[in-house]
Symmetry: C2
Subunit: 419 residues, 2 copies
């Protein structure tokens, strides 16, 4: 079944705004058995909205509008849709009363202008808005279904789930999108592709996409299932790919890398402290994005200046002098020092040149060292990371978390082997 999304709003045609509602809508429509075949973004123009709806009616079973339901003269979705369908619009007295009460409950009298939001297209069902003043509408037109939803994401999401989803689920005839997403770290996109392409090409009924983001790669497998159909071939393909990539896959359940690392620390009863130079807080911020991270994260030091590296992380002045702040020796000293000073089981450190200045032939922009220490062992890794300042910092953060994950994985395997 085919659906399409029409986002209304002149602000969505400026260089500052994207229609992000469509991501939510697409996910929900897919889950209900609908494939989104087109998205259109149109300004606050009655003619344009009408033109786009006219085209949509010729090709889609379900049409979802977002935006253009506010009280001002710019809000034209209602009138444009009514015009195309040759239907009248009139004030619904019950809806008007609900709107009045909504204002009254907050101690305001309803501005005259908001009366427009009680206008209902003839034959439409009203979708009530628990979170705002703009009601939505659900319209059937010769076997095609049109939903009018408000633009603010919170209101749109709530209204879709309560008003639209129950109505379209039966239309989707039990068709569903089965999917599996595998997240990989520590490999390049072409390395991943060269390993898995022979596998997924042998299973063309499952669609496979590979997407590289900062520091990690998402392998997305999906397949439309008719009612009662089994996602067996998708599961088989996922297993084969998991076998081929081994522990380069850090999750098949949508966990973030920091969640995985947090779980590892928690399960091993270990605590962590970080010493961050070029990333200057990005790693600490990531780790603590996870609720409950205070159970295993003790804190960190943003050792941006050499003085802080020496005074708070215990890096000897001569090591800094001899090897420079961006060096394997300093990375290891930082990891040891932050572990000691913050009294944690593990110390993780980063030092590097994020640019754009500060690079040299010997130590170019993008050169980073990661250090790790667990008291028994201290190790470092070196890499030259391409990109601009912010990309280098983000990739370094991901690189450090990936190394920490492997370090913890290896540590546990070794411990198990010793038992």
């Amino acid at each position: 079944m085919k659906a399409e999304i029409i986002a209304v709003g002149s602000e969505l045609l400026t260089p500052d705004h994207l229609d992000t509602n469509s991501l939510f809508l697409t996910e929900r429509l897919n889950d209900a058995g609908f494939e989104v075949q087109l998205k259109t973004i149109v300004g606050d123009s009655e003619d344009k909205i009408a033109g786009v709806l006219g085209d949509a009616l010729r090709r889609s079973k379900v049409i979802i509008f977002s935006g253009g339901l506010g009280p001002t003269e710019d809000d034209l979705t209602r009138t444009a849709v009514a015009g195309v369908l040759h239907r009248t619009i009139s004030i619904d007295p019950n809806l008007l009363e609900i709107l009045r009460q909504r204002f009254a409950s907050r101690g305001y009298s309803m501005p005259k202008i908001n009366e427009r939001q009680a206008e209902v297209i003839h034959g439409a069902e009203i979708l009530h808005n628990a979170l705002g003043t703009a009601p939505g509408m659900w319209i059937e037109e010769q076997g095609i279904y049109i939903a009018l939803l408000p633009g603010p994401p919170r209101e749109l999401k709530a209204m879709f789930d309560t008003g639209v989803l129950p109505r379209i689920q039966s239309l989707g005839r039990g068709r569903t999108l089965a999917k599996k997403v595998l997240h990989v770290t520590g490999m390049t996109e072409s390395e991943v592709d060269s390993r898995v392409a022979p596998i997924y090409k042998a299973c063309p009924q499952v669609q496979t996409t590979i997407l590289a983001s900062t520091g990690h790669i998402a392998l997305r497998l999906y397949r439309w299932l008719e009612l009662g159909e089994d996602p067996k071939d998708l599961d088989e393909l996922a297993s084969k790919i998991q076998e081929a990539l081994g522990d380069a896959i850090f999750t098949d359940s949508g966990e973030s890398l920091e969640q995985v690392v947090g779980r590892q620390l928690r399960e091993s009863g270990l605590t962590l402290a970080v010493a961050e130079s070029c990333t200057s807080g990005m790693i600490g911020m990531c780790i603590t994005r996870v609720p409950g991270s205070s159970d295993y994260f003790r804190g960190g030091i943003l050792c941006y200046s050499n003085e802080v590296k020496m005074n708070l992380c215990g890096v000897p002045a001569e090591v800094l002098q001899q090897h420079g702040a961006v060096s394997a020796e300093v990375a290891e000293a930082l990891a040891r020092g932050v572990r000691d000073n913050l009294n944690s089981s593990i110390g993780l450190s980063v030092t590097g040149i994020a640019g754009p200045g500060g690079g040299s032939a010997e130590k170019p922009v993008g050169l980073v060292f990661v250090g790790l220490s667990d008291g028994k062992r201290t190790a470092h890794w070196r890499r030259i990371i391409p990109g601009d300042r912010e990309t280098i910092r983000e990739r370094t953060t991901y690189f450090a978390l990936s190394l920490l994950r492997r370090f913890l994985l290896h540590r546990r395997n070794t411990e198990n082997a010793e038992k």
Copy 2:
């Protein structure tokens, strides 16, 4: 003059992808005098692409395609466009040679499949791709101009600037979009609107939008200018709004808040250190996003545990015990302590409850304290910030940077008055 953008790619119709190229294209088209009146996102289907182009030809002077120019069977923009325009497609021998050389220069022989990328629509001008294998095309069809650009953002941007911009500038007839963006911090959206609405409503020829983002509000003024027309009314409106909002506006030149704070520190010859509890690195990360921030940022302490607050930030155990980690007293002690221990002119601290757990009736989730100390004075601010964990942390970061900005502003004004 009207333009529209068509993004091609089935991945853009999944829940994971947005067409972000259109933001760049819109900005460039606006600058060249074109208003973007519609954006369409369509999958890798020849029929669908053809249908959308057919509609576009009826309404727009310039049509920009992105994507669908790769070498695989999924890449259908070339054939769909040729079909609609009733033109033939043939291999261009010169282009084929250029592609072959591109591969050869990297030590590869060109795969057979890439020959498709040498296919040119009859009558099209070739737009060369300096950064990838997919060439673009520029086509005139009865006074309407169509550009075919590759999907990867780097390639698209370079090709637009070198191949499309010079061709459309003359078409725009010197029309330009004049704009001014004012960024405000420390006020709510409705406070801003109630102060400035009477001003901008008296100047309807300038379009004014107010957009609230995490921690700050953007007031965007814009107006289309015909050739030779003066943006006088836009400048006048901006001045009046600047007068009404005073120093709540932190920039009218697009600087970020961390850039403004960095400039203030640099100009005053001051250095900064941070102690972050609930934000745990977000402030340090923000400050150091600015190249050259090592000139004024000494570093920081992620004092996630009480132990770190005591041992590294000098918060007395009895203060923690008596008032709790999230308190005005601890915020001030942290600001003083991090300033002392990192030997900076200014200490900035944050302590709060980011949630979702850890709240109480007395100290709810969202409660944050910011501390500031310059040696002479130490102060704190308290606020309850709504939202989920990540929103609370982001808003706290913005709140802290806003307070630092005001603190530095006030400090300089006081110093000037004392002179």
